[in-house]
């Protein structure tokens, strides 16, 4: 049958080309340069072009390797089945330290840390206890409830002035890194303005703007005046929706002041600072194996972004009040809970 011969010929030709190029490629491949400190960062499924969480970590990675004269390996994941191959890539790139960009990579970190005791591993947003607690692991944790607290104060004040003491949250998933923001937000909003009501809804998604826009719409229908987004790219939809309906939005992780017209402020998680400090520290032999690094208001690892001129010009007292909370937290006079009551927000 001639048609089959065609298929056979095509397959043979393809294989021959493959082998030829392969031989060519491997012959030309230069020996890996091992000079300098090599740091790898594996993103979570959102990739490095999200609204800040992964993106800022990459910024921290590049800044750190530039500072210490090392080499950076930012590696993108597209699905959770990419995590393993990406760690394999990092190992084959002879990385000295491999940083996981989020707690979703926890299981993979645990496996590789056990398999490769001579490589250092760190993970953003997860305590080291959750990934096995090995000596070559470090957790990079953030007291995001402290940032959530400060934006909660401004949100409660703004809602009170607008006539309804109701504020909302558009969350991604009910997971600890999201809920700690919400816990702080709720705690301080209720403390700053008695009787403030909090509406919380989860989109189940960190990507799709329309889902969070729907949540913002629902909450605004229930009289919410300010929407705090804790849902990554999805949450930007909530900010835009709130602006459209002449309410206010609060950004998360990165400074999202320019995402929409009416942004009150943003709760910052400076993931770049965490990654930077971890890499620079590890390169100088200051790796705290089996322990967690904590980034909070005190060491400027979390904070508040740009505040709208509506507040800074007309309501300076609110900013003063917020700063009072801030100094109380820093001086341990106010303890903000990291989880909602009964772990339910």
């Amino acid at each position: 049958m001639r048609a089959r011969r065609w298929v056979l010929a095509a397959v043979v030709a393809a294989l021959a080309t493959a082998i030829a190029i392969g031989t060519l490629g491997s012959a030309k491949a230069p020996a890996a340069q091992k000079a300098g400190y090599r740091a790898a960062l594996v993103s979570d499924v959102a990739g490095f072009s999200d609204n800040g969480f992964n993106k800022n970590q990459k910024v921290g990675l590049l800044r750190a390797t530039k500072k210490i004269g090392g080499k950076a390996f930012p590696i993108v994941s597209h699905s959770s089945s990419d995590y393993q191959p990406n760690y394999n890539t990092a190992v084959h790139d002879n990385a000295n330290i491999i940083i996981a960009a989020g707690f979703l990579l926890g299981d993979t970190v645990k496996q590789y840390a056990q398999q490769f005791p001579n490589i250092k591993f760190a993970i953003t947003d997860d305590p080291v206890a959750a990934i096995g607690g090995f000596k070559n692991e470090e957790g990079i944790t953030y007291a995001t409830q402290e940032g959530g607290c400060l934006v909660g104060v401004l949100a409660a004040k703004m809602a009170q002035k607008m006539g309804h003491k109701v504020i909302g949250v558009a969350g991604g998933l009910s997971i600890p890194p999201v809920n700690s923001y919400i816990a702080g937000y709720e705690f301080c909003a209720k403390k700053a303005v008695k009787g403030t009501k909090i509406l919380v809804q989860y989109s189940g998604d960190f990507e799709d703007e329309t889902k969070c826009a729907t949540i913002a719409q629902n909450e605004i229908n229930q009289k919410a005046q300010v929407i705090f987004q804790v849902a990554g790219l999805c949450g930007d939809g909530a900010l835009k929706e709130a602006s459209k309906l002449h309410k206010w939005g609060i950004g998360v992780d990165a400074d999202e002041f320019s995402v929409a017209k009416r942004i009150l402020t943003s709760a910052l998680k400076k993931t770049d600072v965490g990654v930077y400090d971890t890499i620079v520290g590890a390169s100088k032999g200051k790796f705290k194996g089996g322990k967690d690094l904590l980034f909070n208001l005190k060491n400027n690892g979390v904070g508040v972004g740009k505040i709208t001129s509506q507040i800074t010009k007309k309501h300076k007292a609110w900013v003063t009040l917020m700063n009072k909370y801030k100094s109380q937290i820093i001086h341990h006079k106010l303890k903000v809970p990291a989880a909602c009551k009964n772990n339910k927000c």
């Binding site: 001639r2 089959r4 993108v76 597209h78 393993q84 191959p85 299981d107 993979t108 496996q111």
Partner: protein, 415 residues
């Protein structure tokens, strides 16, 4: 020649020398040449795009070399089996891991196509297979491993077949177009999975209640890895199931009454009905078989996943295998072997570009993943254009032949 069939096939007729048969052969050959030309065109176009956007031909060369090395196909030149010392072996094992479900979703689309239907519901059917396999894989811990795997695979496959059958029934009874109904069924499966695996869902991880991922299937229900380090996402035996499915697809379509009816309905439903074939029954049956292929892909991915391959809410939006299956089937011209080769191409392209360029020295890794989508898009575009290529091919032939012979009837390519 090697074909034992009693009646002369078009090829054999061609060798007897009639003009119509020789043109048929050319068209049949075109059936292989056209997809190859399509792929080459897509690669050339994307090469031009990379070279133009990076302002360097050299960069584009490096990029395509990195994609090739990333796919692990260079392993064929230096075969070693240890996937932890050889990056190329590891890459090839991962490429084949991606190819495994793509073969099946490709076959799913191809089977429906052969019955004249467009199954866009591969993603939803894949998810149904995945959910059922997870449920049974977790719940029947302690069962004999062979029986357990068999149970999960067959139940997942049947569930997906029934799920796709809904679209077939709707088409057969009320004439609802299968494109619309399968797309809607995709979303139903998606949200069902979201709900089941989400926090508080029935199939959600029972040890960490705040983490929206599934439980892991019990070790007994896991498809064993035969290439790679155990527990580190090696290549599992599911690929042999996929390869067997290719054979089943071919036999079913070309050597059974069922396949004959399916193809007859695909060529012309009215003529098939006139010939005494129950068209409605065939719509339902073909859709169910199509769904079975996609569902089987889901069960393989669930049972074959490495230790920490979990499917949670965050993963589900990223599952694209059903849609890539459409491109695979189109490229493979809805034939068994074509689909297999198409799946291998897309598997290599996906893994090669994501991981070969994942830590590239010449191109931004974020751009790299978009490059994969560009090549994918171009392939689909050119596959759509193959009708045009065939037209040009044939009109060139006709222009030469018109003075001597009469125009030949068109013969469908079947392999």
């Amino acid at each position: 020649m090697s074909d034992p069939g009693p009646s002369p096939t078009p090829e054999e007729a061609a060798e007897t020398g009639t003009l119509a048969a020789s043109i048929a052969l050319k068209q049949r050959a075109g059936g292989i040449i056209v997809p190859v030309v399509t792929v080459v065109f897509a690669f050339v176009m994307s090469f031009i795009i990379v070279a133009a956007t990076q302002h360097s031909v050299h960069t584009a060369l490096v990029v395509f070399k990195e994609i090739f090395l990333g796919s692990g196909l260079n392993w064929l030149a230096h075969p070693t089996t240890n996937t932890f010392t050889s990056i190329s072996a590891y890459n090839l094992s991962q490429t084949l891991l991606q190819t495994t479900p793509l073969i099946l979703t490709g076959l799913a689309v191809a089977f429906a196509f052969r019955c004249g239907m467009f199954n866009i519901g591969g993603n939803g059917q894949y998810l149904v297979g995945l959910i059922v396999a997870n449920w049974l894989g977790v719940d029947f811990a302690g069962l004999n491993p062979f029986l357990h795997i068999l149970l999960c695979m067959s139940a997942g496959t049947l569930a997906a077949a029934a799920y796709a059958g809904i679209a077939g029934v709707l088409k057969a009874t009320v004439g609802a177009h299968e494109v619309i109904s399968t797309i809607m069924l995709n979303w139903i499966a998606y949200w069902t999975a979201s709900w089941l695996f989400g926090a508080g869902g029935a199939l959600q991880n029972s040890t960490s209640p705040t983490n929206p991922v599934s439980n892991q299937v019990s070790p007994g229900a896991r498809l064993p890895d035969f290439w790679g380090k155990q527990g580190f996402q090696g290549l599992h035996v599911g690929i042999f199931v996929s390869l067997a499915a290719v054979v089943v697809f071919w036999i079913l379509l070309n050597r059974t009454t069922l396949g004959y009816e399916v193809r007859a309905v695909g060529f012309n439903p009215d003529a098939a009905a006139y010939g005494g074939i129950n068209v409605k029954k065939n719509f339902i049956r073909a859709m169910a078989i199509s769904g079975a292929f996609a569902g089987l892909a889901g069960t393989l991915d669930m049972l074959g996943g490495a230790q920490n391959y979990q499917v949670g809410q965050l993963d589900i939006p990223f599952i694209q295998v059903g849609f890539i299956g459409i491109a695979v089937a189109l490229l493979g011209r809805n034939t068994a072997v074509g689909t297999l080769l198409g799946a291998l191409l897309f598997g290599g392209l996906l893994y090669g570009s994501f991981h070969g360029l994942g830590s590239s020295s010449v191109i931004d890794p974020t751009l790299a993943s978009n490059l994969t989508y560009i090549i994918q898009g171009l392939v689909v575009l050119f596959v759509g254009a193959d009708v045009l290529i065939l037209y040009v091919w044939n009109s060139r032939k006709k222009a030469r032949r018109r003075p001597r012979g009469k125009p030949a009837e068109r013969v469908e390519a079947t392999t």
